[in-house]
Amino acid sequence: MRLSTRVAALCVGLFVSHHAAAAELPQRWVSAGGALSEWISALGGESKLVGVDTTSQHPESLKALPSIGYQRQLSAEGILSLRPQILVGTEEVGPPPVLSQVRSAGVQVELFSAQPDLPTLQGNLQHLGKLLGAEDQASQVFQIYQRQLDQQKIRVTRAQLKEKSPGVLLLLGHAGGKPLIAGKDTAADWLLQQAGGHNLATHTGYKPFSVESLVSLDPEMLVFADRALTGDAARAALFKENPILSSTRAAKDGRVMELDPTLLVGGLGPRLPAALEKLSDAFYPGSAGQ
């Protein structure tokens, strides 16, 4: 009985998918990309998601969906077992043979750029809106987003008239231990710049740092993103594992703040403007809340 129900479900699934592709929009979505899943939810498509990858952590409810694994190590049969009509992901998804296998099974595969700039986001949102049948909503969401980022720029420019931009280091760590410092060409660097901070690290990528050079840079502000812990526990672990940090100006002035590490992957996400506002409020305490 159970077997025959499955056959029936499979046949119906195939039947539906064949007909739906021509006339209707895809109804069963698999998303392999954190920011993309967030945008799909923001555009009201969360109920259409039947599976997400491990980078899709927001909104919280997505964690209840079946996980298709890491976006670069997808499994063709695993994805097909969710009977999706469409697979969306950033250009990082792979491996390539798996994508072509999924495609040849009749699943629409749509890839999006994860470039952190507004024109890319606009293109991505339009595309998603079309696929979700929510084009108006998508352009509305984009306009609001653009306005928020414009306001952010104004906020930073204004604040910089009154206050000096602080020298910042961003520490990415796991339960406090051996943090990596975010250098140039990282999403973290972009984030710090947008918030009006001056990244003191001049290397490229995320690299471990010797404590000495950390102290010699003497940051006025520390931002930390911890993958394992959050809140006070993460802060305590960071200072416990790296006691030298307490001697920096940032620690003495109590200018240490936390950042959600999921903001650092997958391009511009919907939570970004709020995070930027929080960052620049901390960078420019004299102009906060304006």
Partner: protein, 345 residues
């Protein structure tokens, strides 16, 4: 060493096990296909004319996903186990594994160059890009092994002990080079590298499969012909020489077959540990050290073990997938321990 199983019984058992593994590997997966559909699709794939109604899905999954994957598992498992026997015979040490002559670390270095360097030389043509990793891994494995072999030679003689030490030194050297690339890598390439080091049969496609199938078939046909020579080598190098074996040639062949076979396997599926070390052991514990049995039996056992491990890898976390290197060690090591302890009691 006592023989627990007679060779004939062992072969019958292993062939049955291998057939079972192939069948399960084709029949099971995250997509639950009805048994009858699987059978009909399989018949269609081998050319039996059956009406294709409602079979598109089954045929696609069987023909394009599960069959190449099964073939890949068979070839990789078989050739890794076989190379393990060759290395343990060459070094006359049951702790030897294909990594000793540097083929694994060389392949890892090649892969690291391809993965990290590939993002630097981003301008590669689309069609070549996917093969760069496999090619680099293969050439890296071959290159480092050739160097190890060269270092072990003096006055026309290959000193196995020197080769072993040279292998250790070059493995360490390659390891530090991989470490350097790891340091240079960005987040995304780092994860690719990590996953590659754990191996996977995922995403097998025919275009990548053929070179491996040819090489592993060649190695699997050639090495068993040298079983008697390997048996003689067990007595010692000079003893084997007195028995009329061209020991230098045998060593050369063993190293070459291992480099070729493991290089191709690693290039196709990434690093899969444990199989090469332990499968020969398992077979030896069951059937004794005679290479005439050991070589072919290890092929069958290695292939079956890898297919079973792959089943776990693809089913345990479905729809996501585990790297197979985790599974081979996880199911193999306790089983090996059990055999060891039982042998002692």
């Amino acid at each position: 060493m006592t023989i627990l199983v007679k060779p004939r019984a062992l072969f019958v058992g292993l062939i049955l096990l291998c057939v079972l593994a192939i069948w399960l590997s084709l029949a099971l997966g995250p997509v639950s296909l009805p048994l009858f559909d699987t059978l009909r699709a399989a018949l269609r794939l081998v050319g039996v004319p059956i009406a294709p109604d409602g079979l598109e899905q089954a045929e696609l999954i069987l023909g394009q996903i599960r069959l190449p994957r099964t073939l890949l598992g068979l070839a990789v498992g078989g050739v890794l186990a076989l190379s393990g026997v060759a290395m343990q015979g060459l070094f006359r040490n049951p702790l030897a594994d294909p990594g000793l002559v540097g083929v694994s670390s060389g392949a890892a270095l090649g892969a690291a160059i391809a993965i990290v360097g590939g993002s630097v030389f981003g301008g590669l043509p689309e069609s070549f890009g996917p093969y760069l990793l496999s090619l680099c891994a293969f050439l890296g494995g071959l290159g480092v092994t050739a160097l190890v072999y060269r270092l072990g030679r003096r006055n026309g003689q290959t000193n196995v002990a020197t080769m072993l030490l040279a292998g250790i030194a070059l493995t360490a050297l390659a390891g530090s080079a991989v470490g350097l690339f790891t340091y240079l890598a960005d987040d995304a390439t780092l994860r690719t590298l990590t996953f590659w080091n754990l191996g996977s049969l995922n995403g097998a496609s025919y275009s990548r499969l053929w070179p491996l199938l040819l090489i592993s078939a060649g190695v699997a046909l050639w090495l068993p012909r040298r079983a008697k020579a390997l048996n003689a080598l067990l007595l010692g190098e000079s003893e084997a020489g007195h028995l009329g074996i061209d020991v230098e040639r045998l060593k050369r062949e063993l190293v070459f077959c291992t480099a070729l076979g493991v290089g191709a396997a690693v290039a196709a599926a990434g690093m899969i540990g444990f199989v090469g070390l332990v499968v020969p052991h398992l077979v030896r514990l069951l059937a004794g050290p005679d290479h005439r049995v050991l070589l072919p039996a290890s092929v069958l056992a290695g292939a079956s073990l890898l297919l079973f491990a792959d089943l776990v890898a693809r089913l345990a976390l479905a729809p996501a997938e585990l790297p197979i290197g985790i599974v081979t060690a996880f199911i193999g090591a306790p089983f090996f321990l059990y055999l060891l302890l039982r042998g002692r009691a």
